[in-house]
């Protein structure tokens, strides 16, 4: 899939009818379950169901850990994307594949890998424990798990944008005598600003929905490690109505993120990166 293959208005006439039919079936397959779930929600009781102390704790924890992990993704991800887009070295392709790994790994596997490394008996975790800053069962562990699974979204988004933007501005700045750091701050970063914002929003959404890695690595305690998705899974056992109500909260949040990212064109870099990867 090259960039030119991204359809624009007016190409519909060239698509065979049966393709449209399958596409409609595909769209229906995605939309109907969410709509049916929405139909099961007790909308009148929704305000009460989503404002219990447990739900508010979970919502608050989810929001702030998602913000924290998004910031961590930006800090770690932008330099990573810059190195991947602007440099070449032996093992470049391997590094790229490794960075994308959490995107395709089952979250529970990511959680186990984090546990093996940062758990109390892990090589890094044991050192942290000795220093008295162990992350096991803390909110930090939630942020770590979120950052781990969300980072590829930001890296892909920014790397794609960097390749699309090209190096002309950077070369010009260097010719005019700007240092590499100065070039980064005043030329590169402004050029990829929208892609950073778009990637950050996708990373935020991924964090908000994180379940498997968090549960495996961080645990589940109200106000400390029990995020909204874990609260939903737990409520399903005792209060299915409340579980559906909280699910609607996440559905709405997801819709807002997708709408904002899409309207801002923030996924262009991501799509470009994915497109080039498959080309």
């Amino acid at each position: 899939m090259r960039r030119s293959a991204i359809p624009t208005a007016g190409t519909a006439a060239t698509v065979p009818g049966w393709v449209v039919a399958v596409a409609v079936a595909g769209a229906t397959f995605v939309a109907v379950p969410v709509l049916v779930l929405g139909g099961r929600a007790d909308w009148a009781g929704l305000p009460t169901l989503v404002t219990t102390p447990e739900a508010l704790d979970a919502l608050g924890l989810s929001l702030w850990t998602a913000v924290a992990s998004t910031l961590a993704c930006v800090v770690l991800g932008v330099p990573l994307a810059l190195v991947l887009a602007r440099t070449w070295f032996p093992g470049h392709a391997v590094l790229r594949a490794v960075v994308l790994l959490p995107l395709v790994l089952p979250p529970v596997v990511s959680g186990l890998a984090l546990l093996a490394t940062l758990g109390r008996r892990g090589p890094v975790g044991a050192v942290l424990e000795d220093l008295g800053v162990g992350v096991a069962f803390t909110t930090t562990a939630v942020v770590v798990a979120h950052t781990y699974v969300s980072l590829p979204f930001l890296v892909l988004s920014v790397e794609g944008a960097l390749r699309v933007a090209g190096t002309r501005g950077e070369l010009a700045a260097a010719t005019l005598g700007a240092s590499p750091s100065r070039t980064f701050w005043i030329v590169t970063l402004p050029a990829i600003g929208p892609a950073v914002a778009g990637g950050a929003l996708l990373a935020f959404a991924r964090s908000l929905g994180e379940f498997g890695a968090t549960l495996t690595f961080a645990g589940s305690l109200q106000g400390i490690t029990r995020t909204l998705p874990i609260e939903i899974y737990l409520l399903r056992e005792t209060d299915p109505d409340a579980a559906v109500a909280l699910s609607m909260l996440l559905v709405v949040a997801a819709l807002v993120v997708v709408a904002v990212v899409h309207s801002a064109g923030g996924t262009r870099g991501l799509r470009a990166a994915l497109g080039r990867q498959h080309a």
Partner: protein, 259 residues
């Protein structure tokens, strides 16, 4: 063959895609759908083998999952002839709805809470009672009070007069056990059967600390036949096997108490 059908929902969905799902129903044989709580899964596998061996042409299709998942499946109309849950409250959600056609549940096993402690680690080494496990600095992991094992834990703590301060309230008892056997947590409250399995599977990774009050916190496992099913007679025969000498022996070996 039955082993492959564990968690049969996904297998069947994939099977439909490749047109192979009907294969399990072919040949004029009879199929008995048994839904069993995760904690009795292995015992039920053993009994299902015995049941099939005694009845040529009969296939037991065993679906093993958490009790709330099983109940949700029955409520949503999944094929079910026998339903065995890990607690009476979950079973009540099926028996309280007359349209589901559940018979009168019968207790077939009991389980009691147990305190398991990790081997290794200074905090774990000093634990000799439930009160020790609740002390500051000890990483205690329990089940969430919303799930059956957490309810049993809460009752145990109340009976022992100990206020617990867990660092995590897990959604499943197996998650509690995993956190203790891996050494991530110092101690955890699980069921006696989980402790029995852990000692057998990971010798040396945990030890069991006796909590006298646990004997009074008895969790009963009920089983019922779904009377509307076309295989209700087979289902009753399976329940007879479960509650008879064979079933009793297999359950006792896994650490379950007699009802």
């Amino acid at each position: 063959m039955r082993r492959a059908l564990r968690g049969g929902g996904v297998a069947c969905f994939v099977g439909v895609l490749v047109g192979a799902c009907a294969a399990s129903q072919e040949g004029g044989g009879r199929t008995l759908d048994v839904l069993a709580a995760a904690s009795v899964g292995e015992v039920f596998e053993q009994l299902a083998d015995e049941f099939e061996a005694a009845r040529p042409g009969v296939t037991v299709r065993l679906s093993v999952a958490g009790s709330p998942d099983l109940v949700a499946q029955v409520v949503e109309g999944a094929p079910a002839d026998v339903l065995a849950t890990a607690d009476e409250a979950t079973m009540a959600r099926v028996t309280s709805d007359p349209s589901l056609g559940a018979g009168t549940p019968q207790a077939f096993a009991t389980n009691t809470p147990a305190l398991v402690v990790a081997t290794g680690g200074a905090a774990a080494a000093g634990i000799g009672s439930l009160a020790d496990a609740a002390a500051p600095g000890v990483r205690l992991v329990v089940c969430s009070p919303d799930v059956p094992c957490g309810d049993a834990t809460a009752r145990l703590a109340a009976a022992a007069g100990v206020e617990l301060h867990p660092v995590s309230e897990e959604l499943k008892v197996t998650d509690v056990l995993a956190k203790v056997t891996s050494g991530e947590a110092d101690a955890g409250v699980v069921y006696t059967t989980d402790a029995t399995a852990a000692l057998a599977r990971h010798p040396g990774s945990v030890r069991v600390v006796d909590v006298p009050e646990a004997a009074g916190i008895v969790n009963r496992y009920p089983v019922t036949v779904l009377e509307d099913s076309p295989e209700a007679d087979l289902a009753r025969a399976f329940v007879d096997l479960l509650t008879g000498p064979s079933g009793r022996a297999a359950l006792a070996e896994a650490g379950f108490g007699a009802p």
